[in-house]
Symmetry: C2
Subunit: 261 residues, 2 copies
């Protein structure tokens, strides 16, 4: 089956039927994928305010209406509770389990936040011949908890999580300008160079994802990461929260190019 | 007194003391000014979601904490209830009065939304020698209620309000690119050309502000306008709402140039 060239609607159907349960990286070339964070309505205002105050980590693409499993803007016809290959359920900030269908857990007071994903800018980087090392090495992107405090909002607070892509110096500027033009999928980098300046002790030991090769002379470039909200949810300990499992995203009907300014 | 070159902090002090009560257009050259919308906490989630869904009309610069009259990002030290020259108080969507000090009306459950203002991009347009007719003619910008539906959120819904600036054809593209680079102050235009296509019947009869001259061959260019939230508040009829009076803005410590991408 050619998952690269099927439509987002077809991909979501396969996922909903349980015919596809793997990571979504590379599926439906050209279409944006989204991070998911679902919270009870009592936390929704604080979380929405957190995203407003931290737009680089949490660029919101769409917020569902309370209790609704539907999206109207980025994926009409999608079922938020079933169209992601793997979900995570947290209670009081503790991971309770991973599931392929959240229907049984859905509640009338849940609000879903769909957040932009770096997959979108990676396809633009590759198109501009900027190297994306973890794709070259067929690994997950390395992610690190930094010492950069997110701007708190209500119960939500915590450190920014970043993803890292090592680049030869001559590609750094192009990577900045390309991603700066895509603020809805994390935008420009938050740091370039010395990992210690943002509190990363050992670049070879990412907190999430996989280590990648940094070649001699290459510069590590750091972007705000969509794992930040998951990390913040663990700290805030809401009574229940649902997220996607890392790498298992919602495939939207929005083209990556439509996320440019 | 030279109000053009005083600091934002000094301007806010003069306003707080009642020494300045006029419109703020042209004060503190180079610094961004902000629209204000204040609502009780019970409406804050719906309104924040409305701004997220309508970022061109309602580009949020900062949201206060509940009950707080302080801002931490765009104007540290400001008092939201006193540092704007003229406020409007609405009850159930009806204008009750205009005041220069809202301290007596403040409640512990109020949340303040500070929204980007077109004054910021006008200074960039002028710097690039794009004409801004209402400034040339010393009038208020003409504003129109369109037939463009805002994306609704909870109780908030309504038509987008736009501001219009007529431009000679050779300046239109520059105006688009300059404002497109400033999404936090309304961004690129929403319409160029025929007013009827967005439901404007008579370009010489703006719904708010003043009529301006449109010279032969000039093209009307329309931007989403910060009056949209006020218009939407009138429709939603919250039990109480406070806004700035048109043209009487909060002067922030943020430079216009810092609002570029």
């Amino acid at each position: 089956m050619d998952y690269v060239h099927i439509s987002p609607r077809e991909a979501r159907r396969l996922i909903r039927e349980g015919a596809y349960t793997a990571q979504t990286s590379g599926m439906c070339a050209g279409y944006a994928q989204a991070n998911l964070a679902v919270l009870p309505a009592e936390y929704a205002y604080d979380f929405l305010l957190f995203t407003q105050r931290n737009p680089k980590s949490c660029p919101v693409l769409e917020v569902s209406d309370r209790g609704s499993r539907q999206l109207t803007l980025i994926a009409p016809g999608a079922d938020i509770a079933r169209d992601i290959p793997k979900y995570r359920l947290y209670r009081e900030g503790v991971l309770e389990g991973e599931y392929t269908d959240m229907s049984a857990f859905w509640q009338d007071d849940l609000v879903s936040f769909l957040i932009g994903c770096s997959f979108s800018f990676e396809s633009e980087l590759l198109a501009a011949e900027v190297s994306v090392r973890h794709i070259e090495e067929n690994r997950n992107v390395p992610m690190y908890v930094t010492n950069i405090e997110c701007v708190p909002a209500g119960i939500f607070h915590g450190k920014m999580v970043v993803s890292m892509r090592p680049l030869p110096p001559e590609q750094v500027i192009r990577a900045v300008t390309i991603t700066a033009s895509m603020p809805r999928v994390h935008g420009a980098p938050v740091h370039i160079g010395d990992p210690a300046l943002i509190g990363i002790r050992d670049i070879d030991k990412p907190d999430f994802g996989d280590r990648v090769t940094i070649r001699s002379g290459e510069i590590p470039v750091f972007w705000a990461c969509g794992v930040t909200p998951q990390s913040v949810i663990k700290t805030a300990k809401p009574r229940i929260a649902i997220t996607h499992a890392p790498g298992h995203m919602l495939i939207t009907d929005v083209k990556n190019t439509a996320l440019k300014n």
